[in-house]
Symmetry: C2
Subunit: 343 residues, 2 copies
Amino acid sequence: MSDEQIRNMEQFASVSGISRPTVSKYFNDPSSVRKSTRDRIEEALEEHDFRPNVYAMNQNRRLTKTIGIVVPYLADPFFGEIARVIERRCIEAGFTPHLFSSHGEVALENEILDGLRSLKPAGVLLAPLGRLSDKSAIETFCKYVPTVLFDSNIEGMGEAFVGSDNHSFVSQTVEYLSRTGEPPCFFEMRNPANPNANKRRHAYLTMMERLSLEPNVIKIDGEGWAFEEIGRQGGLKLLAEKSLPTDTVLCSNDRLAIGLLSACYEAGVRVGRSAGCDLRVASHDDHPYARFTCPPLTTAAHDYNAVSDQSFETLYRLIESGGRFDGRTESLYPARLIMRESA
Amino acid sequence: MSDEQIRNMEQFASVSGISRPTVSKYFNDPSSVRKSTRDRIEEALEEHDFRPNVYAMNQNRRLTKTIGIVVPYLADPFFGEIARVIERRCIEAGFTPHLFSSHGEVALENEILDGLRSLKPAGVLLAPLGRLSDKSAIETFCKYVPTVLFDSNIEGMGEAFVGSDNHSFVSQTVEYLSRTGEPPCFFEMRNPANPNANKRRHAYLTMMERLSLEPNVIKIDGEGWAFEEIGRQGGLKLLAEKSLPTDTVLCSNDRLAIGLLSACYEAGVRVGRSAGCDLRVASHDDHPYARFTCPPLTTAAHDYNAVSDQSFETLYRLIESGGRFDGRTESLYPARLIMRESA
DNA sequence: ACAGGAATTTTACGCGCGTAAACTTTTTAT
DNA sequence: ATAAAAAGTTTACGCGCGTAAAATTCCTGT
């Protein structure tokens, strides 16, 4: 590596013996220049390790190579994992991902969207807060920025939605549970923030009807994103009151189930499907910690990779199409039942 | 809000009746202009909602208002939580935080640092991977960018380090455990990625010696960041071989402990401090899930807020000081023992 | 009312690169 | 070999804002 510092593309172009506009083309898309020139540039690149100024690059470009990724709550390992896979796809495709977390707050979600607009990203992958989201803020945002929603759907927002097929999740768990024991009651938050929760309740009710079983929805109190604690408190209350209607509980999501299992342990209720157990608990999501609960949690797993890949692919097509699709598409991925000890 | 779109600061300045350089000053630091002008600008701002072009702003600035935050593994809720608090501090202080996760990979850590350099951030808060980190890459990075290390220390790197006092963590748990029952053995990974792990082992050995007790370090196999699974496999092996030397296990960190508790449950080993239990398990970190394990985990808690605040404060002072401190400082925060059921 | 300093305006330049147009060279196809 | 097409070069302009210097206006205290 040479000692003299290259300060701008002009200087770099001259030391590499190529004109600046061509070098500019190269950095925009290496495959857009002839192989022989590409080689010369890359040779010079190893010599002088020059990187074009990000700000100057993007300031006067029609479209940046930036992709925004917004998740509602990054302390949830589920989103940590999704973000990881999506980031990787972006980088592989030559984009620069920018990751944001709303941390469960509408104000922050709006701030992020605001800031994102001034980043002028090529596109945005948005997993909104859900019920709490400021619909009109998101709608306005989507008007200016090509956006694909994922994980949680808000009707009509964004050019497409990619998520999991909640009916597939619930139908598998309900079918399995009612086939192998008492039919499940459904354990959820009274005012779920996430729209998936509503879809899951509906799917539960539909499935129970189809199986000619009596549905039973248990709604527990609590607000916010501390689902485990909410599940735990709700569980403790139910167990103390002995008001569980069946010996089989299907939780809306794994984080609630983690709290419920903790409550069961504390209350001395044995959870599991083997003989001598008092209660079966199952759930949905296959949270990264679901396999470490006591007992390990039977759950319906997301196809993390499929959702991540499809989210990015859809956004990529959207960007290529100039930011608009003809119609809003929804891609839903089915679940895979993961049988563990809890049910 | 007016219908005519403001395209640049020039136009905004004219509609607000202020000169462009003054408007520029305002956006750089609102308190740097007279209150009367500030009011006029903010009035116009409500009318036309103009935001200066980020790229043009930063391109020709001595110092951007960007702060980079790098964590080793974002799917770990511990870092999710820390990132949340730090991001908030940055925003409050008028900076724009950019969050990155190395996802446990050196190559990615290096890429992030590379990309960060071209972002020309005012400063960076870096929680390195640790043992796996490319020391020379980090050293080079720190030469160009004012950097404060946090969570995991690499000797001599960065202008300062802010983290937890591992001795405080371990001394409290060891003291408590040996006072209330059999002295603990120490449960850790054979090749821990995180330097805190080494400090904790040393602290354990020191404490045991001080208490005139026989130390016993158990090293389990496994690589990577799937600590829970590593802890679980290690635990299953130990329990099957019945090779645990004492009935009290102190884990290096909570994620290992979560795995170990899962193994205990599977093996039918009753964990807890009450009568009739086979094993006591304690640990360090107060992971967000530690209170939901079965039984809830006795652990030594980080002062999350103090570490986050101090990290940001230190970086802020560093930026104000022009990017260099006279000497490298290390701020260590003590732990708080959290007694739960597991020990 | 006035001096003195602070704040603002004017003027002017440059940052580093995208991009367009016209021209020249190289490659590909006939 | 020759024309057509593709790729590269030259030249030139502009993006939106930071920033510096000089001129002007404003505010504060007396």
